[in-house]
């Protein structure tokens, strides 16, 4: 198993990932706690060893993914039949573990033709010292299906988490995707979306927060445009305290994917002494396409802070408001009350770097605004 680390370190896409202090050995596999809410009759537990869509994970695997595939751990299978429209979000939560334990899980989500659903997938671990968590999520959307996928891993320090998600979209399918990640010793994410069918689209939002020194949130999304008129939109917001945030955003448009459109944007807000690495990449194999990317990082704007101060808002609170405002485009993807949970997790991940008025005020404001909208 120690070979796994050597193999990872040899890969360019793992070069920025700080694996020091991690070993795949010496962990005790713990019982997985599974909790699902909503999706009446559409969710079932996956047993260990039960095979499912693993064709999505049949190529270009990292050693971490190979380990997980061999284990085929327990998890959830969500299957929405063709034409069904599920109003209530389906919530899947994974938890368990204790000091020195490892947990593995997987999720499979299948939406039939023209089906619609929202699935929330969250890591929900209690404070427990060192923990190794690895997971796979597979998503398949049939023609015209619409999925809002919301991933949450806002975890306690000491957690090493590796999570790979792959999605495949048939023609006309649409995937709205929002992910909030923060805390932990290392959160490594490898997300891959295949836009296989003509006119399929993904709109992905990431909120990544790393507050304390030595913690790293390391995310990445690759979108493969394999058909004409496919669309990808990627918006990343990185909040960096004294930790490190890495994001690798890649788009590949293959020859023949005429009319494809990719726009990938990343912004970082630097609140402490930490580090932000944004690694964009677009590989374009077709002429008739639109593709763009942009990245910017800065400290909080002093003119904005002064404007807020000129209305009597003291600096720490003003900074908190700016941080909330920065995160808002991603936060708004999450429904109440999950949104409050996400914000609480982000605040907790950032620690002292977010000196705002706290969740209570934010929540109250959001509800008031929501009530009136």
């Amino acid at each position: 198993m120690t070979d796994m680390l050597e193999l990872l370190r040899a890969r360019e896409e793992w070069r920025r990932t700080d694996l020091s202090g991690f070993s795949p050995e010496g962990w005790t596999e713990a019982d997985l706690f599974l909790h699902a809410r909503g999706g009446n009759g559409l969710v079932r537990e996956l047993g260990a060893g039960e095979p499912l869509f693993t064709s999505l994970f049949s190529a270009a695997l990292s050693p971490v993914e190979e380990v997980l595939l061999r284990r085929a751990p327990r998890g959830f299978f969500v299957s929405v039949p063709p034409g069904a429209k599920v109003e209530e979000p389906i919530e899947l939560r994974y938890g368990g573990g204790g000091e020195g334990s490892s947990l593995f899980h997987r999720t499979a989500i299948l939406l039939g033709e023209e089906a619609e659903a929202t699935v929330i997938e969250a890591l929900d671990f209690r404070p427990s010292g060192r923990l190794w968590v690895s997971a796979l999520t597979e998503i398949r959307l049939a023609a015209g299906a619409r999925l809002t996928y919301l991933g949450i891993s806002l975890v306690w320090p000491g957690i090493w988490s590796f999570w790979s998600r792959r999605a495949e979209l048939a023609s006309g399918a649409g995937l709205r995707w929002a992910v909030a990640e923060g805390g932990g010793r290392l959160l490594r994410r490898d997300d891959l979306v295949f836009l296989r069918g003509e006119g399929s689209s993904v709109r992905a939002f990431y909120l990544l927060a790393s507050g304390s020194r030595g913690s790293q949130v390391d995310g990445g999304m690759t979108v493969e445009h394999e058909s004409p008129e496919t669309v990808s939109r990627l918006l990343v917001r990185g909040l960096v305290g004294d930790g490190r945030v890495v994001f690798r955003g890649r788009g590949r448009i293959i020859p023949g994917a005429r009319g494809a459109s990719a726009d990938h944007r990343a912004r970082g807000l630097l609140l402490g002494s930490g580090r932000l690495d944004i690694v964009p990449g677009l590989l374009i194999g077709e002429h008739e396409v639109e593709a763009s990317h942009g990245a910017v990082a800065s400290a909080p704007d002093e003119e904005e802070l002064f404007y807020l101060a000129s209305r009597g808002i003291e600096r720490r609170q003003a900074l908190g408001l700016l941080v909330e405002g920065f995160a808002r485009p991603v936060l708004e993807m999450f429904p109440h009350p999950v949104r409050e949970e996400v914000w609480r997790g982000v605040e907790s991940s950032l620690g002292e770097a977010v000196p705002g008025r706290g969740l209570e005020g934010w929540t109250e404001n959001q509800r008031a605004e929501g009530d009136r909208s």
Partner: protein, 241 residues
């Protein structure tokens, strides 16, 4: 009473305000006029505590020393600045921003219904659609909407003294009248202000008690309202040197 004594300010070692002294008693409206780049906005920003300025001299509002206070405490002392170019604060809604500002000014969090009712009323007063409360602060606002929004803030915060930095720029006639009505509604023994402007048209709507002229960071002339009329006819050249 705003009392400023021998106030100087510099930016990156360059003097922009030079030894200005001024007294504005409660209940009075003063105007500060002057050509472009004469230091009018710098005077207001320096007194508001903008971190870019290094300031010397004295400034007191109703006896409270201002220059030793951070900006937010100057507001709590009763000072307000309506910005010439209001800053956009992306993602922070007008509602969220103003509620925090009102809580800071009044020392207590206003109730949701109470606050929203008051905010709506002030917005209607300035002919701003209440839906602006859900937008990001000044995000995508037109020039006129930004100016009206500044006035909404002033009405909510009820300052004892306000700098109004070019409240007339970017406004059409209706906007100008709405802004003037807002300022005039506060006029009284507990409010005074300094209107910074190039043009006398706002001063026709909000007649000043005194007019000061600033050139190259210094007050070169002070007088009654007739001074504004004279500048409108003659320009500033005769006041230089």
């Amino acid at each position: 009473m705003l009392k400023v004594e021998d106030l100087s300010a510099e930016v990156a070692g360059r003097p922009v305000v030079r030894g200005v002294s001024m007294e504005i008693p409660p209940g009075e409206v003063h105007a500060l006029m002057g050509p472009n780049g004469s230091g009018k906005t710098s005077f207001a920003l320096a007194l508001m505590g903008h971190p870019r300025y290094r300031v010397t001299g004295r400034a007191r509002l109703d006896g409270v020393e201002l220059l030793s206070l951070p900006p937010h405490e100057r507001v709590r002392a009763g000072l307000f600045l309506a910005f010439q170019h209001p800053v956009e604060v992306p993602g922070v809604t007008v509602y969220q921003f103003l509620r925090a500002a009102v809580a800071a000014a009044r020392g207590r969090e206003p109730g949701l219904r109470e606050f929203y009712g008051e905010l709506e009323e002030r917005m209607r007063q300035l002919e701003l659609d209440p839906s602006f409360a859900r937008r990001g602060v000044n995000e995508g606002f037109s020039g006129g909407e930004k100016k009206r929004h500044e006035m909404v803030q002033m009405l909510l915060l009820r300052p004892r003294f306000a700098f109004l930095d070019e409240p007339d720029s970017g406004l059409d006639v209706d906007g100008l009248k709405a802004v003037a009505r807002a300022v005039n509604s506060l006029r009284g023994p507990h409010f005074s202000c300094l209107i910074i402007t190039h043009y006398p048209r706002i001063l026709k709507e909000v007649p000043p008690d005194r007019v000061h002229v600033m050139v190259e960071g210094e007050i070169v002339r002070s007088g009654g309202p007739e001074l504004a009329r004279l500048i409108d006819e003659e320009g500033y050249e005769w006041l230089r040197g």
